[in-house]
Symmetry: C2
Subunit: 109 residues, 2 copies
DNA sequence: AGGATACATTAGTGAATGCTAATTCATTAG
DNA sequence: CTAATGAATTAGCATTCACTAATGTATCCT
């Protein structure tokens, strides 16, 4: 069985549309500051900082402070629990599909 | 840009550990009733029914009533928004992920 | 130094969430 | 028919969540 905690963290973090949009924007741009992220986000700078904190806790972003700016970048490894989870349950479907295919082969030669 | 609504639905639905465990159990077993799902779930039958309602709304499961039992089975296509999202933003696992996605496409009738 | 800028943090608030307990509805068994 | 079983639904409750407004803490600029 997969460890549930990291998957839950990643999923819960990305489930919120605003926070996921922040993450997506960080992924698209190589590095981006908080003010830039706030611009056009529809929420306050404080809210953005809170979302960044969540993303950081989930291992989805990393920060690089430089002067009074803080540059955020995506951490690809952070998505790994999600990938593992999907890979794990995709395998189940493959097995079932293989069985179904064999079954159909037997029935209809 | 991807449509955010289905991804949000799927992610929010699978983010809860209890509900995700229910889904995982449905995936592993081919078909399963509500009493069976309730057994060893740690929550009430009512709670399970509520989780099943969420899963159904998200397109992740389908039901087959038979007598006074209702059999639930997984709907692989329900995970497609999640696959699409990861395919778009999880660029780093592109190859691994593309393979998995093609696999599911074969399964999908 | 003093003001402005970038970001983080806090308290407080309304809304949503997951749960239980109890009820309801439908179906099967004795 | 009556009792029991499977499942859905409801009301109520405690907790969590996302947000704002305000404040705090650096850092840069003149």
């Amino acid at each position: 069985m997969l460890d549930a905690a990291p998957i839950t963290n990643v999923m819960r973090t990305l489930a919120d549309p605003t926070r996921r949009a922040v993450f997506e924007r960080i992924v698209r741009t190589d590095e981006i500051t908080v003010v830039e992220l706030t611009r056009g986000s529809g929420v306050t700078q404080g809210a953005i900082s809170q979302h960044l904190k969540s993303l950081k806790r989930a291992g989805l972003v990393a920060e690089r402070p430089e002067g009074r700016n803080v540059y955020y970048r995506a951490r690809p490894e952070g998505l790994e629990p999600l990938f593992d989870w999907m890979n794990h349950y995709g395998v189940f479907w493959r097995e079932r599909f293989a069985n179904l295919r064999n079954l159909l082969k037997e029935i209809d030669p």
